[in-house]
């Protein structure tokens, strides 16, 4: 499992109710179900991924996460997870507010755009940065938002949610392993992971 998902999994209390937005092929949900006895649900827009999830025994809905979050009642989940997708969301404030309406806590992770590698590419080469975390050209990227760890903290104050815990990480080439970055995270970490509350 991806290193950022391992961190997220470690934050989740056993037996809790979890909704994973953009759950992909369900790696995190599967892990949580097996190891933390979590009651999990996922939302994913790609049919093949949804089918894969259901076939491996997960409860997953095909749909657009921005719309699907609206139909749940308040506080039905303990955690609502948005991993590595915030940079693709058209209305991030609205989505995070919905996450915290239907869930008691939220977990958000995203690639950190102020990593020194990205800064250097822009400064020295002068073209739009391409990294293994954000591997697209400007003209074909699904990532419509550039977010830094610092920006997300500012965003939390502006939108009015609290950051309960945060971890910055550097993951290796295959994203399977990594380490936590404590010194100058905004400059040195490739991903930021935040536990948020109301």
């Amino acid at each position: 499992m991806r290193f950022d998902l391992q961190i997220i999994a470690s934050w989740i209390e056993p037996g809790s109710k979890v909704l994973d937005l953009g759950c992909g092929e369900g790696d995190l949900l599967h892990f949580l179900k097996e190891h933390k006895q979590v009651v999990g649900a996922g939302i994913e827009c790609v049919e093949a991924k949804v089918a894969h999830c259901i076939a491996r025994g997960l409860s997953v809905l095909q749909g657009d996460m921005n719309e699907e979050v609206l139909a749940y009642d308040d506080d039905v989940f303990d955690y609502v997870i948005l991993s590595q997708t915030l940079q693709q969301v058209y209305e991030p404030a609205k989505l995070i507010q919905s996450m915290l309406r239907i869930g008691k806590k939220g977990i958000v992770s995203f690639p950190n755009f102020s990593h020194w590698g990205i800064r250097l590419q822009l400064l020295i080469k002068g073209h739009a940065p391409i990294t293994k975390e954000l591997p697209y050209e400007w003209y074909n990227t699904p990532n419509i938002r550039v977010i830094t760890i610092k920006d997300f903290r500012r965003f939390s104050r502006k939108v009015g949610f609290s950051i309960l815990k945060e971890v910055a990480i550097n993951s290796d080439h295959h994203d399977r392993q990594g380490h936590i970055v404590r010194f100058l995270p905004n400059l040195r970490a490739t991903y930021g992971i935040f536990l948020i509350g109301k």
Partner: protein
């Protein structure tokens, strides 16, 4: 639903099966129908496949659509040319694995494939019921299926599965007998017919009623309203396909000719196909049953019948875990209708999975070989089966 007799390409089959019968509601204990009329005795034709667990926890109940029957899989004899209507899904190692589950499928009330319907003998007159047969609803069909479950000593059903009108029965089961249903798979279905769906059914019914042989439903001793029923079937077939599937299957190709005939013979392949489907259908189906079952489907309204007009309220009665599946090219019960039921299920906190399968074959897609559908059903059943054993 259309008839697709698809032999399993690997030749795997549940093998020889037998149609059985169960009779209940003998007078004076007739069944009181939703309309208030009484009906009895009622016979239900059914088939079972696989072995019932000692704790009876592996029951999968399959509910068929308009023209289906209890013969969901397998063969009646060694020289039977064709298997049951969902042989591709039901059998050893298949989506609904008969090595693991005890599968039951019964013919719906009002049909003509062994269960009591308008073509059955009315014990009061010793003649076929015809229009004396009371109007039955999806709810009545489910009540009859429940009686069969009681007869078989089954108290919990691992999964109720069905497409189209079979899917309506699935939904009805979930709100009518919530304590019995562990999980449910409604495929290509709706909580209520749209005006479009009712309209097509009405045109089909009028085709039968307009046939002079129909004779107010009293035709069993004379010529049958075959033309009307064939036209009704042709209309049905159009709604089961899609623009895309018809373009791929027929286009504007001509049937066995190189030019137009300049008369009203079947020039186009699509005409010839529809005529063939219509003619084939009258050999095995009763026109009155067609009227009664389409009417039951039109009357079905889960919101109104179980939720005082609210889908959310209706589903608040359900306890099952759901797998809802729709198909992209199904314009009879389009995806938005499946999505609406999924939203209501979410709202009341039900465990629901939903997948819209990309398929060009229209409403009929659920009956055709589809690797994705089989894997979904298989994975979902395995999960709910393991969850009840935890």
């Amino acid at each position: 639903m259309s008839e697709y007799i698809e032999h399993d390409k690997n030749g795997v089959s549940v093998g020889l099966v037998e149609k059985k019968f169960f009779t209940f509601a003998e007078p004076p204990d007739e069944l009181v129908l939703e309309s208030g009329s009484k009906l009895g005795p009622i016979t239900i034709a059914y088939e079972t496949y696989g072995t019932l667990d000692a704790d009876k926890s592996n029951v999968v109940l399959i509910l068929h659509a308009l023209s289906g029957d209890s013969h969901v899989a397998g063969y009646y004899s060694v020289d039977d040319p064709k298997p049951g209507w969902w042989d591709i899904m039901v059998g050893p190692g298949k989506g609904i694995d008969t090595n693991k589950y005890f599968v039951v499928c019964s013919n719906i009330l009002g049909s003509c494939m062994g269960s009591t319907g308008p073509s059955s003998i009315n014990p009061k007159t010793n003649k076929q019921y015809g229009l004396d047969f009371p109007v039955v609803t999806i709810g009545d069909m489910v009540v009859a299926q429940k009686a069969l479950m009681d007869h078989l000593g089954i108290k919990k059903i691992l999964s109720v599965v069905g497409g189209s009108i079979g899917g309506m029965q699935v939904l009805e089961w979930c709100v009518r007998y919530p304590e019995m249903v562990v999980s449910a798979i409604p495929l290509a279905t709706t909580t209520r017919h749209s005006a479009l769906a009712i309209a097509f059914n009405e045109v089909a019914r009028q085709a039968i009623i307009a046939d002079p042989n129909w004779n107010n439903g009293d035709y069993y001793s004379g010529p049958k309203p075959n033309l009307g029923l064939a036209v009704a079937r042709m209309i049905g077939h159009i709604t089961y396909l899609s623009d895309e599937s018809m373009r791929l299957k027929f286009g504007r190709r001509l049937q066995d000719k190189s030019d137009f005939s300049f008369n009203f013979d079947a020039d186009f392949q699509v005409e010839s196909y529809l005529r063939y489907q219509g003619t084939k259908f009258v050999e095995r189906f009763d026109a009155n049953s067609f009227l009664y079952i389409t009417k039951a489907a039109d009357y079905f309204d889960l919101e109104n019948q179980h939720g005082s007009g609210s889908t959310v309220k209706a589903f608040s009665k359900a306890r099952a875990k759901f797998l809802v599946v729709s198909f992209t090219s199904d314009w009879l019960y389009p995806t938005y209708q499946s999505k609406a039921m999924v939203q209501a299920m979410k709202k009341v906190g039900l465990d629901v999975s939903f997948c819209e399968i990309e398929a060009e074959w229209g409403h009929d897609a659920f009956l055709l070989p589809n690797e994705r559908l089989s894997t979904l059903v298989k994975g979902f059943l395995e999960r709910v089966y393991s969850e009840i054993r935890e």
